[in-house]
Structures are given as C-alpha cells and as structure tokens.
C-alpha cells in the first residue's frame, strides 16, 4: 500500500533519514506558524502534482493559508486533495535520486541511484543510473553505500551522508517491508546537507500482518473498492461495460483478452484469486450487481469445488438481489453439465468454453 508523502517522510525520519521540517493539515486555518519559507504540497497518491499546480511556495503564514486553501479540494488526475503538507523550503544545490525496490530478475532488493534526480528520472540514460542488486544472504554492507556514493560523485562530506542514507533506506525497506522506498529528489542543500526532498514508500500489503501500524491508514478507495478489499477480491475499474468476475489474475486477464477479441469491452472486473469458493463467488456477484455493468460475465475454473455448488451460490446471489442485466456464466470442472442446466433454468446464459462465454457476453454488450 502506498503511503502519502507526509507518512513516507515520517517513516524516513523514524529510520534516521533527514527530511525537511513540516506538518500536515486538512484545512488552511490549521496553519498557525511556519518554519520560514515553505512549500505547500498536495497529499495525493499520484505523480505529476507539481505540473497540476499541487505544489506551491509561500513566504508567510497568511500566504501559506491562502495557498493551502487553493490546493485543498483540488482534483489531481482523478484524486481529490484532502490534506496538504506544509514544509520548510530547501535551498537546493543539487538534486539526486535514490531508491530501493524489488528486483524480480535477481530475486533481491535493488538499490537505484542517479546524479540526475528530479521530475524526469524515468528518462535518465542507463549509464547515469546505478542499478545495484543486493545479495540477499549478504544483506547491506558498508561497501554498498560507498559504491552508491561514489556513483553519485559528490564531495567526501556529502558522500558519507549519502552512504548513511543508503544504509538507512535499506534498513527501512527490511524493517517496514517496503517494496518501494524512493527519495526523489535527494537534495544536496547549498549548506551541504543531504535531505529527502520528496519520498514515495509502498508497504508490501502481504506483509501487513506484521505491521499493524499500517493497517488502518487512509486509502483513496471508492465504497465498492473498499468492499472488495474487505472480501480480498481485486477490483479494477476499466472503460467498458462488461462486468467480469473470474478466479485468478491470469484467467481474469485472459477473459478480458477474449472479450476484446469478440469486440466487447470490459468495465469493472473482479478477481477472486485462485479460489472457487462458492461463498466468495456469491459475494462477488452481489458486489458486481452494485457496479451496474451492462452485461455480467462469470468465468470460474473449478479446482476443489463442484460446479453445481458454485452455480448454487450464483443463483442465491441472484435471488438476494435480482440481477436485471444479461448474465453469461461459465463454470468449468466436475458436474459442469448440471451447473449449466441450473443456470439456464434461472434465466442466465450458460457457456461451456472461455471463447464461447466471451463471444456471448460481447454480443450482449453490443446490443
């Protein structure tokens, strides 16, 4: 789960990484005094805030209040600004980049560093970006920090600050189960301090069981997304009008691909994970009904459970909340014939294969 900038910076501070002084407010009048010239920064979980006008300077308390009032409530790429961070403005001499994340290919943590920090970090040429996978058995060792600092090419005094920040960033990733911890820019100030100008931290949601402190953090979820999250169902809103329910990420994506082949367009999709638990299917159907798609396509590949049992769950959901839109259902596995008959009797459109189901749903959606 992504942390807001101010939370990410609190985590950095907890691990001894210098961040600017600052505080977060949800209304302009909460600003009482400021630590000199400040930046007022919209707290939204999306990039491009600066370009969207979500980051502005202020010199006085009054100005800070005015600026904060103008940013609070602002919509930035679909996200509403509910809080702003009021933060000491840094006297920037240089902007560097430092991050740590998961390296899938090397199956390890990966430290990334560049002397060219700032907004265009994604387009930095490869030779200006150090990508340093950490041997998991060795963990972080001082020589890693020395190497990173050498790559960033700062004078000795800043190099030792950088090596120390690098060490602490690794510690942060390990202790907080951060799958991403990124400092961009890592600012060298005119008086020679190295400070985190902005920070992105994403906590591995699979590790929340050992990080209760992150469990109830605010997330920018719609009511339906919230419900899906509680049911441990992946919920994604797309452009189309076919509501897709499937079990397993791969099968869900394959269902979208198949719909697309037949000219349909998926809207909301729900991925139950690899399960064919009838209760979970039922809840997903009820949830989907709330999302108001034009057609619903259910694609369940049965593993443990028998198809008729899964079909029974679907029918129960339909009883609980009459589903008025066409409902194409494909349930694969043991007793699939029985399931198909049950669904047909209920006025649903049974399909036996994935292609057939996709074709039927697409047709219905294009009517």
């Amino acid at each position: 789960m992504k942390l807001f900038e101010y939370m990410a910076k609190a985590v950095l501070r907890k691990h001894g990484i210098p961040v600017p002084d600052g505080f977060v407010v949800s209304s302009a009048d909460q600003i009482r005094k400021i630590p000199g010239p400040v930046m007022v920064k919209a707290q939204v979980l999306i990039g491009g805030r600066g370009k969207a006008g979500g980051i502005k300077p202020a010199e006085t308390v009054d100005e800070a209040r005015r600026v904060a009032a103008s940013i609070l409530g602002m919509k930035i790429r679909g996200f509403t600004t509910k809080e702003v961070l009021v933060e000491q403005r840094l006297d920037v001499a240089r902007e560097l980049y430092l991050g740590i994340t998961i390296d899938r290919s090397n199956r390890s943590l990966l430290i990334m560093a560049s002397p060219d920090g700032g907004i265009d970090i994604e387009s930095v040429p490869e030779d200006r970006m150090l990508m340093l996978p950490l041997d998991p058995l060795m963990g972080y060792q001082p020589f890693v920090g020395r190497r990173v600092a050498a790559f960033l090419g700062q004078p000795p005094e800043q190099s030792s600050q950088i090596a120390s920040i690098c060490h602490r960033l690794h510690e942060l990733a390990v202790y907080e189960d951060a799958e991403l911890a990124e400092i961009n820019p890592l600012v060298v100030t005119k008086d020679g301090k190295v400070v985190a100008g902005d920070a992105k931290v994403t906590i591995d949601s699979d590790a929340l069981f050992r990080h209760k402190e992150y469990e109830n953090l605010p997330e920018d979820l719609t009511p339906l997304e919230q419900k899906a999250k509680q049911l441990d169902i992946a919920f994604v809103q797309l452009e189309g009008n076919i509501g897709v329910i499937a079990n397993g990420a791969g099968l869900t994506m394959a269902t979208l691909d198949s719909i697309n082949m037949f000219g349909g367009k998926a809207g909301v999709f729900l991925d139950l994970g690899g399960t064919d638990d009838p209760e979970k299917v039922k809840k997903a159907v009820l949830l989907m009904a709330e999302a108001n798609p034009k057609v619903i396509l259910l694609n369940i590949f049965g593993g443990i459970t028998k198809c008729d049992t899964v079909a029974k769950g679907v029918i129960e959901a339909n009883l609980e909340k009459q589903i008025a839109v066409p409902f194409v259902a494909r349930i694969k596995g043991v007793n699939e014939e029985i399931a198909r008959d049950m669904l047909r009797d209920e006025g649903m459109i049974p399909a036996s294969g994935l292609s057939e189901a996709a074709e039927l749903a697409s047709k219905e959606s294009l009517r």
């Binding site: 050992r210 394959a254 593993g303």
Partner: protein
C-alpha cells in the same frame, strides 16, 4: 525420470491438518504421488487420511525419508516452514501458500539456491506429470498423459489451457506452475532447460502475464538454447497498466514488461504466440 518430480519422490505435506493440506494430500496420493508424511507443529502423532503427521519436517525426513515438501502453511508461517524444510535436507519444495511477503520470498529463494534446493513458488499451483505424480493443487482431472510440456506463471489460467490441450487430445509430459509472484524460486528458464533435456517432452507451451521481464528473458533463452517448438500465450494484452508500477518500476522495466514487448521478444525467438487461450491448441497442432 519426469521433470523435477515423479512417483519415486517421497512427499511431506507441511500444514496437512488444514482444509487445503488435507484435501490435496489425498488428491496427490490418488494422482500417484508417494505422500509419506504430513507436519503440523503440536499435532505430531495423529493421522490425516491415513498419512502420519509429525511435529517437524526433520522427523518426516528421518522416519519416512521424505525428500520433497508441499507447503500449505498460511503466509505468516510460510518462511519458517520453508526454511525448516531446507534445514531438514528436503531437496524439492513446492510452496502453494499465497500472500507471502516478498522479502520472505527473497530469503526463502536465496537460501534454497545457496543449498541447491529446488523451490517452486510461492503462490503457485505446483506441478504435475500425468501418470507419475503431482505436487500441488492442480486439478487432477484436466490432465492427459502425453508429450507437451507446459510452464506457466498462472494458476487457473494454466488449468484452462491444460484443459483445452486435453480436450484436443494433446497430452502433457509435465505441467509446472511457477507462480505469479514477483519473486519465485523457479523461473521460466529453469523449466525450459529441463523440458529441453527431457526425452518425453516434444513440444512446449509457455503461459506468461504482463509485468516483470521474465518472458523477455525466457524469449532470449529460447532463441539460443531451445530446439523444441514453443507456443506461448501472454495474458493481459488488453489489461490496464499495472497499479504496482511507480517510477522505480518504470526505471527497471525501461519499456519491457508490456504484452507488446513480451510478444515481440517471443516472436523474435520463433515462438508462436496465441491471442487468446483457446488458440493455443491450434497453434500447437501446427507445430
């Protein structure tokens, strides 16, 4: 000798007393797998479906000569379970458990590889060689003995494709679900290497997904090292860009990771790529 496991492997099921562990230990046995023991700390001494349960993997190794483990232990205990198996001398570990923290997966995988232990998963359906053995949760009914090797990141999508193959009488030598998590013990390349060597496997199906660069790396490997025909399907051509990708993801990926990039790389390696899963048997038939 099948790929990775056959009927001679002696399997211990870690977490056998849970619903999944209990159900699948029987399903594995019925498939032909030699399930010799289960474990559940504190429950040593009981039996589950006639399978003796021990407190520790070490006992299963010492008393029942277990050499392979299938882990169903929930995520918080998964690292402990896997390292216990490694420490006890198990040589092949299939981790079915899902939602394993990625740093735990990194530790499991790096320790396993430093000790020469084969680790499949986490968050994987396991593997099956029809007529020999399966270790994991793949539905037994979908398989047909044959000569197609299947390797996949996915769970249910794998079943979908294997099922489609079986309906077309395209039997399978071995099907390996390597798991879709960001860090897994076994890669496409590891399995491709085994399929290339395996005398039973004649053709190969590779099932990938958007995200990461494993498919691109596999394509590069296929071009250089694989002589057997390969058909692929990449799920997610029409999926929205992944939500996980921040700056760091984009820096790492540098344009890789999309369906287009993967399909292009595979086609450059002379791999036929299906547009939808049901095309896979057609393409394979033409090879």
């Amino acid at each position: 000798m099948a790929v990775i496991v056959d009927e001679k492997n002696r399997v211990v099921v870690q977490g056998i007393t849970g619903y999944q562990g209990s159900y699948h230990s029987v399903a594995m046995r019925e498939f032909g797998t030699n399930v010799v023991a289960g474990t559940r700390p504190g429950k040593g001494g009981i039996e589950v479906n006639g399978i003796p349960v021990y407190d520790s993997v070490r006992e299963a190794v010492e008393l029942k000569k277990a050499d392979t483990s299938c882990i169903f232990v929930p995520a918080p205990g998964c690292k402990d379970a896997a390292l216990e198996a490694i420490d006890a001398g198990i040589s092949t570990i299939v981790i079915v458990s899902e939602h394993v923290p990625v740093l735990d997966a990194i530790q499991i995988v790096s320790l396993g590889s430093s000790k020469g232990v084969t680790i499949i998963g986490p968050n994987c359906p396991g593997l099956a060689s029809p007529g020999k053995a399966k270790v994991g949760i793949l539905p037994s009914k979908i398989f047909l003995k044959g000569s197609v090797g299947v390797v996949s990141k996915s769970g249910t999508l794998t079943y979908e494709i294997v099922n489609a193959l079986t309906e077309r009488r395209l039997g399978q030598s071995t099907c390996v679900g390597i798991g879709g998590d960001r860090v897994t013990g076994t890669s496409f390349i590891d399995i491709l290497k085994l399929f290339e060597k395996d005398r039973v496997t004649k053709r190969i199906v590779l099932v990938g997904e958007i995200g990461g660069t494993a498919e691109e790396e596999a394509a590069k490997y296929i071009r250089k090292n694989i002589t057997k025909p390969v058909v692929a399907y990449i799920a997610g051509r029409t999926a929205p860009p992944g939500k996980r990708m921040g700056h760091a993801g984009a820096i790492i990926a540098r344009g890789l990771g999309t369906a287009e990039s993967k399909i292009k790389a595979l086609e450059a390696a002379n791999v036929k790529v299906a547009r939808i899963p049901t095309d896979v048997p057609d393409l394979l038939d033409r090879e």
